[in-house]
């Protein structure tokens, strides 16, 4: 590099303490997260494993499992990998020991807080975003600490250029911050409860823009950065194609952010957004496979090492699973395929291919590679590491195979019709549950094998580290001359960026504008292309220089990355916000909940019912025949948070209201098998003894009003009276059916909510919304 004119030589000792800490934390929380995973998998086959205990039910533990695996296991692993590789790639010690400590201990405290609050039912009711608002703020603050420490380290670097792994880390830091903050925008009603500012379709879109990109920018981009560092290290040869890694980075970062709507296909999400999600998901095939092949081909000439090196075995299997998951993801984003796969265990197979195969095996490979270096001692047992590999691989295959069979069975049975497509072939949902029950046991077995493998890893690392010397890496580096930075402005105000922007604007205007505007844009497009090609010839050096300086200047690089991810978010969210608040509610508008129904809804969310029951009837024959008229956009407009769900372990509840008498719900919640033999739903005995929290309602209703739900003016006394009257009426009706319960019990509030589901009014645009009836 031209900038590497050498001057003084100095020795740097890296700070590997946070690497060791995050690695140990990742192994510890990984085992906890997987253990909870095995328990929830068991609960799906054996309902008794819910233990009739509120904090051990599936609905509360499943969020604990997902959060623990994503944020605790992969999060800690990512931080270990980032801190280790960044120091070496930029030849600088981590900038601040204090910030590293705050980062590490802050993150662990967040995990402990999550592990306590989630089983207690303190949740925001949105998948992978369940943590309550004070913890959300802590996450944002600790993320900022991480970002400051990372960028400060880059600022002190002794290597002028930024290796592609660093790019992936930058994209992760920027994008996760953006996604997390937007999806967690809420207004608190108490220290442990809040309502998200988005509702209905807006909330669904923002949630899956976040949820999908949590996969993209928390579980994929940082791990790809880790792959681009550790795989060449382990294979002892450079990455197959550095040029391909650049194309991989920009394409992935640019496309991934648009693909979120593929989680909402065939729903009441506007069709243009569904198409956008599907098209961009299909486009993801190319960069994902480019990256996957780049990883695998890095082993060119080194495949023989796989026979003896467990690290490489894990890495190669991980990259292969990445390839499989990123092949399957676009496939599942095709609307017709999604009609079969969505709401079934197919999705579960897919995500576990990614989580266990890609994330888990990358973590294992990295830990086996790091342990001998961090503790200056050979790995205690290579054969145990090999055994871990085979146990884990077979475990994943058993898990995924059972989930594919289960998922396709569910999809086919639930959509099957007879008599010319007019009657459901399997009208009773429970038939699907019972026919896939054995597969739940097999799945738990696969998960258990994978867990045992990780326990072996923990043992192996413990034996390697015990009594060993703790060693920080050190290296001699040349301190380069400070080159003049290009500054933030320099990143944007230059020929390549200006030409690109003009081309995009004119091309978009050509397609979008009518008449003269369109002609002008065609002219502008041709003129820009002509000027650009001329300037390109004359100033090749200028273009090259700009890009090379960009590689060496973190600030403008970060800003350009941010722009590319912001665009995708804005294009999706701004129009949806406008659509939902405007007249487009498809002729149906939800009737707001009464105070008691709102309290019941909060109980529904607390128990995590959305983990098993959707509230969205898709525009599909099977759905409409089974559950009634498909869901309209306006029918969940006041739902903060939305509850469309992502999985049907039980039936959809969008039109549950009025389907059964109050007593049906009473007996069903007390013992589901009494009403529905073969059901795997837990018993909820505490709902019959605990009192409904009506004291919190005035605050909750005030916040609902703030976020746009049309509640009329009500005093605290009126709210209480409204609750009492409705609860008394439900309790009286229950009594006549032989189900006696005091009206202040939670079951009564929950029944009031369940009976409200699907109640909407037909509207014309001129009508004003109905306020909550007492």
């Amino acid at each position: 590099m031209s900038t590497e004119t050498t001057q003084t030589k100095t020795r740097i000792e890296y700070d590997d303490t946070p690497v060791r800490q995050f690695m140990i934390a990742s192994i510890f929380w990984g085992i906890i997260g997987m253990l909870v995973g095995v328990l929830v998998a068991t609960q799906l086959g054996v309902w008794q494993a819910n233990f009739k205990t509120s904090w051990l039910t599936f609905g509360r533990l499943r969020p604990l499992h997902t959060n623990a695996v994503i944020f605790a296991f992969v999060g800690n692993m990512m931080f270990a990998g980032v801190y280790y590789s960044t120091q070496r790639l930029v030849k600088a010690r981590i900038a601040s020991k204090l910030l590293s400590r705050i980062h590490f201990w802050g993150w662990q405290l967040i995990i402990v807080a999550a592990a306590i609050t989630l089983p207690l039912g303190l949740t925001r009711g949105k998948e992978y975003a369940e943590l309550i608002w004070p913890i959300n703020i802590a996450v944002a603050l600790i993320w900022v600490v991480f970002a400051v420490n990372f960028f400060w380290t880059l600022a002190r670097r002794n290597e002028p250029t930024l290796y592609v792994a660093i790019w992936f880390y930058i994209a992760t830091i920027i994008t996760v911050a953006m996604l997390y903050i937007v999806n967690h925008l809420s207004i608190p009603t108490s220290w442990t409860h809040s309502y998200p500012i988005f509702g209905g379709v807006q909330d669904a879109l923002v949630q899956w823009w976040y949820g999908h990109n949590a996969v993209a920018f928390f579980l994929t981009t940082p791990i790809l950065g880790i792959m681009y560092y550790f795989l060449p290290k382990a294979a002892e040869r450079p990455v197959y194609s550095y040029r391909l890694s650049i194309v991989h980075f920009w394409s992935l970062v640019f496309i991934y952010i648009w693909a979120g709507p593929h989680h909402l296909l065939n729903t009441s999400l506007p069709v243009w957004l569904q198409s956008l999600g599907m098209i961009f998901s299909l486009m993801l095939w190319a960069p994902s496979w480019g990256g996957m092949l780049n990883g695998l081909l890095t082993l060119r000439g080194a495949w023989h090492k796989l026979r003896t090196e467990p690290v490489l075995k894990f890495f190669v299997a991980a990259v292969t699973f990445y390839g499989m998951a990123t092949f399957e993801g676009p496939l599942m984003s095709i609307r017709s395929v999604n009609a079969l796969s969505h709401y079934t265990d197919w999705t579960i197979a897919h995500v576990h291919g990614g989580a266990l195969g890609w994330n888990g095996f990358m973590a294992a490979g990295m830990f086996y590679w790091l342990a001998p270096r961090l503790w200056k001692r050979p790995l205690h047992s290579t054969s145990a590491a090999n055994m871990h590999f085979w146990l884990g691989t077979v475990g994943i295959l058993i898990y995924m195979a059972s989930m594919y069979v289960s998922g396709i069975t569910q999809g086919l049975m639930l959509g099957a019709t007879k008599e010319g497509g007019t009657v459901l072939a399997y009208p009773n949902f429970i038939e699907v549950v019972t026919s896939t029950k054995m597969l739940m046991h097999i799945r738990a077995l696969g998960g258990l094998m994978y867990l045992v493998g990780f326990v072996m890893l923990a043992w192996n690392v413990w034996k390697t580290a015990r009594g060993a010397e703790i060693v920080n890496g050190s290296v001699e580096v040349y301190v380069p001359e400070k080159s003049a930075g290009m500054g933030l402005g320099g990143g944007f105000i230059n020929a390549p960026v200006i030409y690109t922007t003009l081309l995009i604007v004119f091309a978009a205007g050509w397609g979008a504008l009518p008449g003269a505007g369109s002609s002008f844009c065609i002219f502008g497009l041709i003129a820009t292309a002509a000027i650009m090609s001329m300037s390109f010839e004359f100033s090749k050096a200028g273009w090259n220089d700009w890009y090379e300086r960009l590689l060496a200047n973190a600030v403008p690089f970060t800003a350009l990355t941010a722009v590319s991810v912001f665009i995708g978010g804005l294009v999706q969210i701004i129009p949806t916000v406008m659509v939902n608040t405007g007249a487009s509610i498809e002729g149906m508008r939800q009737i707001p909940y009464t105070p008691l129904e709102l309290a019941g809804r909060d109980i529904y969310i607390r128990e995590g019912c959305y983990n098993c029951h959707s509230q969205q009837i898709r525009t599909l024959v099977g759905d409409v025949l089974r559950y009634g008229e498909y869901s309209k956009l306006g029918e969940s407009i006041y739902d903060h948070p939305y509850q469309w769900g992502s999985k049907r372990i039980g039936p959809d509840l969008a039109r549950e209201g009025g389907k059964y008498p109050h007593s049906w719900h009473f007996f069903h919640m007390r013992d589901p098998r009494q009403i529905s033999p073969g059901s795997t739903m837990p018993d909820y005995p505490w709902l019959f003894t605990d009192k409904t929290d009506t004291a919190a309602l005035p605050n909750k209703i005030a916040v609902q009003r703030k976020i746009g739900v049309p509640y009329g003016p009500m005093t605290d006394v009126e709210i209480q009276q409204a609750c009492d009257t409705q609860a008394a009426a439900i309790a009286a009706e229950l009594k006549t059916a032989g189900a006696e319960v005091p009206p202040e019990r939670e079951i009564v509030a929950l029944i009031s909510y369940l009976q409200k589901l699907g109640k909407a009014e037909k509207v014309t645009h001129a009508e004003t919304p109905k306020t909550a009836a007492n």
């Binding site: 194309v247 243009w272 956008l276 001998p372 091309a507 397609g511 009518p514």
Partner: protein, 58 residues
């Protein structure tokens, strides 16, 4: 002609705009990547392989 097909709902234009946007960025990126000097690539791809004393402790 193009816009007359698509302009019934303005949001629908966004799919076309998005794809235009992506392909423009993608093609410029491809051109750019092809033009990176060989020695720059060689320097960058070898960055992870520069060893520190950790790599001599196994």
């Amino acid at each position: 002609m193009f816009h007359r097909i698509l302009v019934e709902e303005w949001q629908r234009l966004l799919s076309a705009v998005s794809i235009t946007l992506f392909f423009t960025v993608f093609i410029i990126n491809l051109i750019r990547v092809r033009r990176i000097p060989r020695e720059t690539v060689s320097h960058l791809e070898n960055l992870p392989l520069e060893n520190d004393d950790h790599d001599r402790t196994r």
